[in-house]
Amino acid sequence: MGMRNRRIPARVLVAVAVCVAGGVFGAALALSSGAAGGGKPVAGDEFGVFASGTPASVEPRLVSLADQVGVDTSDKSHFRVLATGLGQFNSRLVAFPARSGENVCYSLLGASQYDPGMSYCYQPRGDNLPAGLAGERFSVVALQARLDGVYHTQVFGVAENIVKSIRVNVAGKWVPLSIVRNGFYLDLPGVALEDVGIVEATLANGSTQVHDIQTGE
């Protein structure tokens, strides 16, 4: 039996092309979701580390995040490692702008891909922010892990140049944090997330701003 030299009908070719185009369109749409703007570019002006820090390549673990949050070529050139060797997971804190500097993303990444890590992207000058977040010159999040039945919490974030000091209330006691390269971090082994409360930032003019880890603002 020889091979037949059969032509594929044009309709089939068109149908296949439509399917492929549809798939590509859908994937592109999904990956570019949430591409609208809304805030003012602040990353370069308010965070010294983005303006003068040493450039770093985008972490492989964060490539999909960068794609999702709208990191453009300029943003990629401002990817920064703020600190390394942090806490019990030997983590590193990294940050990068997104949406041409309108947003700031920061990530705590463990030494291995299996160590607990978390990213948060926010819009420092976004519209319609809740009263508790509007004007906040820093951003902080917490991540809890339960290992062998024991809770551990990591508190981390970024602060604009104007923030001079940060402290966190842990089970009723204030714990001061160091701000290095616009980033800060606190490892709390044996502490549950529910025991972490107010984070207070003191600005250069002496005023304070607070953020409650329990409510998110």
């Binding site: 020889g2 037949r4 030299n5 059969r6 068109v14 149908a15 439509v18 399917c19 492929v20 549809g22 798939g23 590509v24 369109f25 859908g26 994937a27 749409l29 999904a30 990956l31 979701s33 949430g34 609208a36 809304g38 805030g39 673990r61 964060l62 999909s64 995040l65 999702q68 949050v69 709208g70 997104a98 949406r99 947003n103 463990g110 891909q113 299996y114 160590d115 607990p116 890590g117 978390m118 990213s119 992207c121 926010y122 819009q123 976004g126 319609n128 922010l129 809740p130 977040l133 999040v141 917490a142 991540l143 809890q144 892990a145 339960r146 997330l193 972490v196 329990q214 409510t215 998110g216």
Partner: protein, 149 residues
């Protein structure tokens, strides 16, 4: 040579039948509809493959959504996405197979989120996890939650 001959015969045969297979206006419409349906279906499938959104509906305050089960995952994120332009409080978690139903081994704190402006929280590490996301606000709103598998 045989194949070429057979192919040539087929071509001639098709050319002879050409008047019969020229689409009528009605069949063109049917084909356009079919193409549109196929495009939409594959667009949806493409989006699903790329995004793997496991929840994209309103949640009541304190409500949550979870993946159907456990899988090897590398991230889990959530954000408010109801078209109001407002932000909403969310939280994300990873459950191990041995975790109690309401006490995940890993969870973020409560954070403000808004999908439309790229504001959201994401757990960024690998493991065999079940994902969960919450509405931690005080009103109902649409929450979008996504993982890679």
């Amino acid at each position: 040579m045989l194949a070429a001959t057979e192919g040539g015969t087929m071509m001639l045969s098709k050319l002879r039948r050409l008047p019969d297979v020229v689409p009528s206006p009605t069949s063109r419409v049917r084909f356009a509809v079919l193409a549109s349906v196929l495009f939409a279906a594959f667009a949806f499938a493409g989006a699903a493959i790329a995004a793997n959104i496991y929840w994209a509906s309103p949640l009541s305050p304190g409500g949550y959504a979870s993946t159907g089960g456990w899988n090897n995952r590398t991230y889990n994120w959530a954000c408010r996405d109801d078209g109001t332009g407002n932000t909403g409080k969310t939280q994300v978690a990873f459950f191990l197979t041995t975790d109690p139903p309401d006490d995940p081994s890993y969870k973020s704190g409560i954070v403000d989120s808004r999908c439309s402006t790229g504001v959201y929280a994401r757990l960024d590490f690998s493991g065999y996890f079940k994902c969960r996301c919450w509405n931690k606000g005080t009103i109902s709103f649409k929450v979008v939650c996504q993982t890679n598998i």
